[in-house]
């Protein structure tokens, strides 16, 4: 299309100055909230995502509890002011699907069998959205769960990859997400070498899909390093206070 603007220039530089494999700057603020058992403010480029965890606690209503494990309740929601155009506060079909997709990703890693007949509530509130919010949401939720001290099989790191101007690109921003050819969110647990979330929409050849998957894993590894650093830093600070 002639009207389409160029998103990657001849030097391989993207609209926001990044190379194709570069992630946006990530900032992790653990324990952002005082009342939740675990919380984090996760910023990735213009994404600002607040995740909080409560529990394990008693289940209400009682009939939803399970005798052999904790249940997870996940709410993913975008604030009305988080997008260019105001989003209605009513839950959209997208938010309902993403709540489920995030829950499915986390169920595979949280050791729910240690807390039968309880509930772990996970809230993911997107305060500002700039593409890749579901994987940023999973990344943030994993940090909040760790911050709450909930045992997990590993830390989940998420990153989206996609196809922009015919190239496979890591961590799409808003323009690339809207005008690019494909978007593929992936959540990965590096310590297990397993994928817990995988979606794709757009058009890719099978070769491009292979490339995209390996780039997604590389990107998730970078996110994982930042997660581990943030958790270690907070943990070490606590130890020092105790002394």
């Amino acid at each position: 299309m002639s009207t389409k603007r160029q998103l990657i220039n001849e030097q391989g530089i993207r609209t926001d100055g990044r190379g194709v494999d570069d992630l946006r700057p990530i900032k992790i603020t653990l324990g952002y909230l005082t009342h939740a058992n675990g919380s984090v403010l996760y910023e990735q480029g213009k994404n600002k995502i607040l995740a909080a965890v409560f529990g394990p606690s008693e289940v209400h209503p009682k009939h939803t509890e399970l005798p052999d494990r904790a249940i997870l309740r996940v709410r993913y929601r975008m604030a009305p002011f988080s997008t260019e155009e105001r989003k209605s506060p009513a839950p959209t079909r997208r938010e309902i699907e993403l709540s489920m997709v995030i829950r499915n990703a986390l169920e595979s890693v949280v050791l729910t069998e240690l807390f039968p007949r309880t509930v772990i509530d996970i809230f993911v509130e997107v305060l500002q959205a700039d593409a890749g919010t579901r994987v940023a949401g999973v990344t943030a939720a994993a940090l909040a769960l760790a911050d709450a001290g909930i045992p997990m099989r590993g830390i989940t790191a998420g990153c989206a990859v996609g196809k922009v101007d015919g190239k496979i690109v890591c961590d799409l921003n808003d323009i690339e997400d809207k005008e690019g050819e494909a978007d593929m969110p992936v959540a990965y647990i590096p310590t297990l070498n397993k994928i817990s979330l995988l979606q794709m929409d757009g058009l890719m050849t099978q070769e491009e899909f292979k490339q995209a998957l390996s780039k997604a894993i590389n990107s998730a590894m970078k996110v994982y390093q930042l997660q581990v650093n943030a958790l270690k830093t907070k943990y070490i600070k606590r130890e020092e206070v105790k002394k």
Binding site: R75, S99, N104, N193, L203, M204
Partner: protein, 284 residues
């Protein structure tokens, strides 16, 4: 809020047998790991709909009805018609489906069918515009799950695609004042592709295509790929909890394309034309 559901109880004996058989490359219903159940379909069976298809995949049965109405293009796509996909898990299809508005499973199913159709460019949305920015056709695709025997995604994507292929739209004339008048002309929807989805069930790191109900209740997780006719991938979705290794994702993608070609020749094999009914059969 998305809440953990209780997994349906599958007897331990059945689970054990299933796993033992799988380790020998056989399945509980004697299929091979890469074998689909029988697929058959009828089109045009709902006369009042503009297009319809009833598709069965083993014990799973899905009816898709298409209605086409006039409406307005979205502000950001004034040169495109509108496609709306909805899915209902009817309570008569399974005891686990409850009456009421679509739950997260139904929404996820509808959104996956939508992605498969939209991203494959199956329906030529540009051809659905009558007056740019003002009037266009709105194509409503309603997926009705009638009988739940496992693998709803593949059955729904194929049924929806078949129903769209069967859809007729009435042509309109636009005069110089922008006034619309209905004509006697009826045409097929303009289609560019025919998406084929292939779903894998995964248990204990073993994967197989087209899980039936019992397998679905035992599976750790599911992975679905939708392919275009040229072998591009237009949608992917991992469903349910459970983990998959990256290497297996790629293996499944490759095997999936092999299966998609087989399903495609069956889905597109029926005679073309304006027959009231096209019946296709294949599999076992």
């Amino acid at each position: 809020m998305s809440i953990t559901r209780e997994k349906p109880v599958v007897s331990k004996i059945l689970q054990k047998e299933m796993l033992e058989l799988l380790s020998n490359g056989v399945r509980i219903d004697k299929r091979k790991l890469d074998e689909y159940r029988k697929i058959s379909y009828q089109t045009g069976i709902i006369e009042k709909a503009d297009g319809s298809a009833l598709l069965s995949l083993g014990e799973t049965m899905v009816l898709v009805g298409v209605k086409v109405e006039l409406g307005q293009p979205f502000g950001d796509t004034p040169d495109q018609g509108v496609l709306v996909v909805n899915a209902e898990l009817l309570p008569l299809a399974s005891q686990t489906f409850e009456p009421g508005p679509p739950d997260e499973r139904a929404i996820a199913l509808a959104r996956y069918v939508d992605r498969s159709i939209r991203e494959s460019n199956m329906v030529d949305l540009k051809s659905l515009v009558i007056v740019p920015g003002k009037v266009c056709y709105v194509v409503y695709v309603d997926v009705y799950v009638l009988d739940y025997g496992g693998n709803l995604i593949d059955a729904s994507v194929l049924a929806a695609a078949k129903a769209l292929e069967n859809t007729k739209i009435r042509k309109y004339k636009v005069d110089e004042n922008g006034k619309l008048t209905e004509t006697e002309n009826v045409e097929n929807l303009k289609l560019n592709d025919f998406p084929i989805s292939v779903t894998f069930g995964i248990i204990n790191n073993k994967y197989f295509v087209d899980p039936n109900l019992e397998e679905e209740q035992t599976c750790d997780t599911f992975l679905t790929f939708t392919y275009t006719q040229t072998g591009n991938i237009c949608a992917v979705m991992k469903n349910e909890q459970g983990l998959i290794s990256p290497a297996q994702v790629i293996e499944m993608m490759e095997l999936g394309w092999k299966k998609a070609k087989e399903i495609s020749s069956l889905m597109l094999g029926g005679q073309k034309g304006n027959d009231q009914e096209n019946i296709g059969n294949a599999g076992s």
